[in-house]
Subunit: 546 residues, 2 copies
């Protein structure tokens, strides 16, 4: 029989210390481009100090330790030290509303919170509400504000002696905790185990997913407080890829400068960021981002027009992927078949993708019947696997999100015979017109393919005859104009004729959730409250005039 | 918490049935090139039938089922059906000596043996010695000989009803069993669990190892009775790579024809086979093997000259890898750094490689002290990990092969700071001259780099002054000649001066073990028995004459 080798994050730390000692962590520190560098061997030695410092303060197995920080070398050290002493890394989302932030820190019972000095002003406002925090540790030398008791990260390490021995940990013990901020109710915690995290890291190295490897230089633009930065920190440690940490500088200009100067091969971000980068590249034809071999993009559906523009104009290949905090997050990845060209390739790349190895997927209709993979039948996408949540942390109210081990994603999708998943909607955003589904996501993508359109969000508007019809809420690019007629003409031939909206609302911006996704709940409320200025195209009149 | 998703081979079968339904299995059936084809979906349906047929015959959890077969579609079906009903796939090595074969089948207590019709003549001789076999199943329509009771594979499937439901299996349950045929004592069984096998399959898909992916067309020249064909069958099922099965046609001509016509991208074999393929390609300049993206080679150290010749003359990139039956077998893989060129690249490629993710490695000297990774210090290589054996199947005599979870490989190696392992010898083949180790492997490689040398095996010869000195046993290419002086001159500058052997024996062939490795035990015996004709170069006289 095989060695009873526990699948724990000690293995990642061990490889950083030995095999991958030469890989490096680069952190952007100032807007002027100042950065710090450390080898994995140096980082591992600091992890030992940090682990020692935490243990001396009585932090141990099962204790939750919060981080409130941008992507940095220190945040990597926290990613390793906390789980490796048996504690639970709780990445706090810095964009939560104050009451949500207090709720999650209290719900998790965080004993310590590590915070970037630049984020102290946000955290200190919430600090009085925190019930379990015994210590704040400030990263950087900026003011520590009203935080109390407080110690500086550098002092903590300077005074520490390295951990003598890491505890043996069961592979199913908790390693990390991340709360999802839904648009309703309190955030819900997803607990990752050592096993789930290590297996998920393995998946990131597969040739058919991200193919993370030793020659990669990874820029995780996705923050470490979002689903473990898509697993890239641990994958880099495991495979020996270098990490380029952007800190708080998530604007296109510093990101592109970082890509150029650090020869980044792999950069991962949500569509909004890629949109900004595209605009920047279009405006700066001298920028050279040719070092990028792959640019994973997820968190929201990627408009195909964005993908094509980045690839055709700047040689940046976007890899569309789908996941959620609940899925660690790697769920499906849109690698096209190697021999696909032209439209076939773009069709595959525009899908959400195929289930990653060790992830099982099914679609289930409203009656609970599992649907075939014929590219037509639609239903709720459900997934399960070793890194897919089957429950929330200390939360019994959300049992309906799970069905016998399957996570109900809330996404409505079809799957084609090759296993490419296409999400047509969030189930709660579904538009049912005359008994048939209209895909808001597809309408949005096609509208955003129009030159003048910056953003488009489609919601249901009540309709006497069809019960519901789509309403397109459109944000135009600055200085650009488009009429309802033009947008409708643009959609002809791109979507089913009966999907084309009659109702449009030109808005200044689409409301976003705290994690930057379209918040259609707010749009629907604005519609109900009469706050949207809806323009209707009169189909009957038009038909007559034609 | 995550779903308690068991890491079992059901997942592989499930992906073959659904996501990877379109991949195919091609089997070469005749010397004339006739082949059969089936999609993974068709193979999965036949697996269901085979599983049903076995269950009906009372074969179930924990039962051992033997296979005595070349690589074929049927052997793939057996690889899946047997473990998925909870039984244990026992791949019998067709090259074992009859008494070894009977020993392993009896030791494993095989209840059924599946056998290729072409191999019936071998098995029927052993059949009377088999104590537990209740049924023989013959694959193909050739004579079933004296095997009794016997049924044909096709009839078994024709009469079967598909399995209703596969049993739930604990991930640590046994999936497969493979015996290692050492050069001494009885073969020892290595039991693979579902967990170890699935994790091992994941490793084969990593960009830094084999990078097996959906666009691959894999030719496993390595037989399925050797360490699960290096895990390629399950990896192909998991990732959706097609499998091109060569049957019993392992000569260079049919293999090259298969590579050409099936556009093979990935072919894995031991060095001897690659040597044959090289000779064939050299003799047939029109052969086109450009579809190959990677050619893993292991089972024995690969002579660098062979690697260079295949790459420089025929564009076939050999990937050197090291493993054993005890390591499933993926242990270390010699991917050079992406930016290495010239000598640096060949140096990395000629090493055994770096430990695969989830494999831990150390080197330990004769006093039990763990040695540094400085490229100089040598010691026994020891490994552990989720697919590394920590004991043999029902065997207490070999406990000394394991040390607190570490497998003692019996290989002497050094590790450089980048983690590249270089094996200098089998510990039992060590030559200690004047208190210092001489690497027989390095001497062999350098000798085989000489144009006239086909094979070289170096063993110790007693020496009055130095205790031991190396003796080079050399096989020349047909029609080629080389003198002791020429070979010694050839070694100057390639190895340490004091390593250069004074003693040479020109032999017709190097004795091989049943699995094709140099059998130095036999050579040593021949030396002891005075059967080797040793030519000595008189260094003293030569020194005078210079």
């Amino acid at each position: 029989m095989q060695h009873d080798f526990p699948l724990t994050l000690h293995h990642v730390l061990d490889r950083m210390r030995t095999l991958n000692a030469d890989a490096e962590v680069v952190t952007l520190r100032t807007a002027e481009g100042t950065r710090t560098r450390a080898t994995f061997a140096e980082v591992a030695a600091r992890v030992d100090l940090l682990a020692g410092a935490l243990q001396v303060r009585g932090i141990g197995e099962g204790d939750r330790v919060g981080t409130f920080a941008w992507n940095s070398q220190e945040h990597i050290e926290l990613y390793l030290a906390i789980p490796c002493i048996g504690s639970v890394l709780h990445t706090l989302n810095i964009r939560l509303f104050p009451e949500q932030l207090a709720y999650v820190a209290n719900h998790a019972r965080d004993r310590v919170i590590f915070v970037d000095d630049s984020l102290v002003p946000i955290l200190e406002k919430v600090a009085p509400l925190l019930e379990t925090v015994e210590l704040f540790v400030v990263i950087g030398d900026g003011p520590t504000g009203a935080l109390e008791p407080v110690v500086r990260y550098d002092d903590l390490l300077a005074e520490a002696t390295p951990v003598q021995a890491y505890p043996q940990i069961d592979e199913r013990a908790a390693a990390a905790l991340c709360y999802t901020s839904g648009t309703t109710g309190n955030p819900k915690g997803v607990l990752y185990s050592h096993r789930s995290t290590l297996l998920h890291s393995m998946a990131a190295g597969l040739a058919d997913t991200f193919g993370v490897n030793r020659s990669d230089r990874i820029l995780p633009i996705v923050p470490q407080f979002h689903a473990n930065a898509w697993g890239l920190i641990y994958a880099a440690g495991l495979f020996g890829a270098s990490l380029i940490q952007p800190g708080r500088f998530l604007q296109a200009e510093p990101l592109v400068a970082l890509i150029e100067s650090e020869k980044v091969t792999f950069a991962a971000a949500v569509p909004t960021i890629w949109m900004d980068i595209l605009n920047h590249l279009d405006a700066h034809p001298d920028a050279d981002v040719s070092s990028i071999r792959l640019a994973p993009c997820g968190g929201a559906a990627v408009p195909p027009a964005l993908m094509k523009a980045l690839e055709e104009r700047h040689g940046v290949e976007i890899l569309h992927a789908w996941g959620m905090t609940e899925t660690s997050p790697l769920g499906v990845v849109a690698r096209p078949p190697a021999d696909a060209v032209g439209d076939a390739r773009w069709s595959a790349k525009s899908s959400q993708g195929r289930p990653v190895p060790l992830v099982e997927l099914r679609i289930v209709d409203e009656e609970g019947v599992v649907q075939p993979w014929d590219g037509v039948a639609a239903g709720e996408m459900q997934v399960r696997g070793p890194w897919i949540a089957s429950g929330y942390y200390l939360n019994d109210e959300s049992a309906d999100r799970f069905d016998q081990g399957w996570l109900r994603t809330g996404d409505v999708a079809s799957v084609d015979p090759q296993g490419y998943v296409r999400i047509s909607d969030r189930s709660k955003d579904i538009i049912k017109s005359g008994g048939e589904w209209v895909s808001s996501v597809e309408l949005e993508n096609e509208l955003m393919a129009h030159d003048a359109v910056r953003e488009a969000a489609v919601i249901a508007i009540p309709d006497e005859r069809y019960t519901e019809r789509p309403l397109a809420c459109v944000v135009l690019h600055e200085g650009r104009a488009a009429t309802v007629n033009e947008l409708r003409d643009h959609l002809v031939g791109r979507v089913a004729k009966w999907w084309i909206p009659e109702s449009f609302a030109f808005v200044a911006e689409v409301p976003k959730t705290s994690v930057g996704k379209f918040d259609k709940k707010v749009l629907r409320q604005q519609l109900t409250d009469g706050e949207l200025s809806v323009q209707r195209y009169d189909t009957a009149a038009q038909q007559v005039s034609l």
